[in-house]
Symmetry: C2
Subunit: 463 residues, 2 copies
């Protein structure tokens, strides 16, 4: 008889990080750990799916960090193909359905961790449920999509939604020699970037030979014999499609939680405290299904990213294991690549800053990734959004070629520490000609942003 | 008649940045600016010299940011080939000697900025003054070195001192097809890195086919007919050399200042306050010749780097121009490349931390620059030095292949903000498979360093 029973729902980043941490801290005779995963894969890199589809990663196996057997050997009773369909907080059991076979049973818990992930958003328009309309979030989605592509009926692909996953998939499809069109309701793709940066992304997408239709909300997916045959936009344009992929972002899977009365927050994700505890005693949550504090806006947000899922899982697992750890929130850092174009962001975009009530100035600079005279130097543009008067850096975006985007991490660290742009411009960053100009592009941007802050103060004084 | 006269001594990064800033803020009829440069070049990238010698940069012109004529057009009376040999604080004049021709005159000033730079260290051993023993610091040094190489008498080169400039020059010489040996008194090259990291550098140097003799202090340079012919180490080994290059670091040029009673600090550099003012009224200093506050050790240090020189020059120039700016110090960030090996550091090395009185734990991890499965992923090792108990990051070193070293800037920003390793591991850094693993290497290192801090606390408690 163990002292406590932990049930984990979800066998990927957050769930298995938590299970592993808890296991390491409490022996099997103290804590039993049962984990349920409804899919066929555990602990894989979902972010790697587009590269497997595009062929840059040759085998699906390379994306799998830990197989079910390995978790089982490590002392976690991971049960694959098991869907948790209900939580009874009274009896403290979860209701489990085996996907193959349909056996149904109740599993008791003392502690419960929800790591239920997220699902691609499917807007309520006609044709959305056709079998050749694919979201790409979990590994089984990727497997289904590849199976479809390996048949010979697919020539034309329409990607609905130009978010970064949509673009990664579009590029992968193009690499496979397909005819690809991306449709987006906004004026530039990847809405998490400001429009000036989005314009570069649009150019890069088109440069790949991918069709890009902007300001084009989708009205319906046309079907024939139950299968999608075209995407129709609100202006009446019809884009023939043998395959439709959704790139409209994801929604947290919270149905299981809300069905049991475990509350979601203002953002729609499961509400958790600093230690990843829900308000319900003994119930924890982590990963794509939870909401996080945005440290700049002060708002709750849902950010579905493997990096947060791993950290949150670790924090939950340490706490479940009797230790102490907290997840101090997010600042909206993200990076992606469109062909050779690298784009990255951190903090708030202009729209987000405005919506959070900030007033700000912006500054953009063009520079190079190495000393201008050094071979292999590539263009980089850095944009900064700085609060009026204080000069506090609220957000930054970087767009450029090889070696540009990872510089965003410097600005993420600066924002995390609430640095003002004039403090940033004094930072002792590394310099040598193969690695950057003597004034690193992020320092040049800080200098220009600081000038903008000063100009704004002078202008506001009326002098 | 102008209101004030500014004299700048030194026409490179610090001096001309200052002159430019002051000029922009005060018109010519308010402030006159005369700048003296004893060499033949102004505002160039001294850090680019090794790449010009090695042929990666094809023309010297590419290294020049601003020619004398451009400064003059911008309203700075830059006088090339003019050596300032004395300062008279009583009469408030500097004594100038024209290098060609020898005309000597006094130039009056109200404000004086010393940007006299630094000179390669020449230890007091026999033969050091032979004409084919070259230091490489200013552009004229590079020109002289190239002239020597373009004759046909040079086949064997010995570099005395394996600092990063020494290694950059050694690699450049090797690129030119010469036989190169580097001699260093320490057990690993580039003493600013700990020995474990230095070992990787040693391997990379040898991998280039460069001879490397460690633990080998130089006793003398042997000469024949006044020219160096060999380097003799203390153990009696003789290394034949047609050319000797010094890589023993540089010393600040402070003779002009001390000759006039302008004080140097504990580190040997000219002492300045936050605004780059010396203790002498109306006398300022910036660049390689000054000492800076090290924000981690709390000590004064001289760090000769273009990035500091530019920032300090900017600060001095803003203040001279009637504005307000400060230089808040350095944290010892540096980066270099040896063939394909990238190495970087920030904060304190183990030796420096010990010398500053810190007690600490260390942690090193091996990871990859991209997701492990992503094409082009390269090895990276991150080492952290964290203070006992507090876990404050005191220093970090990175060694790896392409894409590794610039990550040091994240840790530089973390050290600047006095972050502890457990705070660092929560940072919201960017993630996508082409840019890093889901746990970025710097986060993995922080996690391991945090575990080391905890282990140390437990061990110290005696439990």
């Amino acid at each position: 008889m163990v002292n406590e029973r932990l049930v984990v729902v979800g066998g990927n980043a957050a769930g298995m990080s938590a299970a592993g941490q808890a296991r390491r801290r409490r022996p099997k005779d103290d804590l039993s750990i049962v984990a349920f995963e409804r899919g066929r894969y555990s602990s894989y890199s979902a972010c790697g799916i587009p590269y497997w589809i595009g062929g840059e990663v040759t085998s699906m196996d390379e994306l799998i960090a830990r197989r079910p057997e390995e978790h089982i050997r490590a002392g976690v009773d991971l049960r694959m193909g098991c869907d948790v369909v209900g939580i009874d907080l009274q009896s403290r059991t979860v209701e489990v359905v085996e996907v193959d076979g349909g056996r149904r049973y109740a599993e008791p818990f003392d502690q419960l961790l929800l790591a239920t992930g997220s699902t691609p958003y499917r807007p309520p328009i006609p044709g959305m449920d056709a079998p050749n309309v694919h979201g790409v979030q979990v590994f089984d989605d990727g497997v289904a999509l590849r199976a479809e592509l390996e048949g010979d009926g697919v020539r034309r692909v329409v990607v609905v939604g130009g978010g970064y996953i949509g673009l990664e998939i579009a590029e992968a499809m193009k690499r496979r020699g397909l005819e690809v069109t991306v449709v987006d309701r906004s004026g530039t793709p990847v809405g998490m970037f400001d429009e000036d940066v989005g314009g570069f992304i649009a150019d890069a997408v088109r440069g790949l030979g991918i069709g890009l239709r902007l300001d084009a909300p989708v009205a319906a997916i046309e079907t024939s014999a139950g299968r999608a045959t075209a995407v129709r936009t609100e202006d009446g344009t019809t884009l023939p499609a043998d395959l439709v992929v959704l790139g409209l972002g994801v929604r947290p899977n919270v149905g299981l939680a809300t069905g049991a009365g475990i509350p979601t927050g203002t953002s729609g994700g499961i509400a958790v405290d600093q230690r990843m505890r829900t308000p319900v005693d003994g119930v924890w949550a982590a990963g794509d299904c939870v909401e996080s504090m945005h440290r700049v806006s002060g708002r709750r947000v849902v950010v579905a990213l493997g990096t947060h899922a791993n950290k949150q899982g670790r924090v939950a697992g340490i706490n479940l294991g009797g230790g102490y750890a907290t997840f101090p929130g997010v600042i909206g850092t993200a990076v992606t690549k469109v062909c050779e174009l690298e784009v990255a962001r951190t903090g708030l975009s202009e729209r987000e800053a405005r919506s959070a009530g900030f007033e700000f100035v912006t500054a953009s600079i063009d520079s190079s990734t190495r000393a201008g005279y050094f071979p292999g130097s590539r263009p980089i543009r850095v944009k900064m959004i700085a609060e009026r008067r204080s000069g506090r850096l609220l957000g930054a975006q970087i767009v450029g070629r090889e070696g540009a985007a990872k510089r965003i991490d410097v600005l993420a660290t600066a924002i995390w520490n609430e640095m003002a742009v004039d403090e940033i411009l004094s930072l002792d960053l590394s310099y040598a000609p193969p690695f950057g100009p003597v004034w690193d592009p992020v320092l040049v941007a800080a200098r220009k942003a600081f000038a903008a802050v000063e100009d704004d103060i002078i202008a506001a004084s009326g002098s």
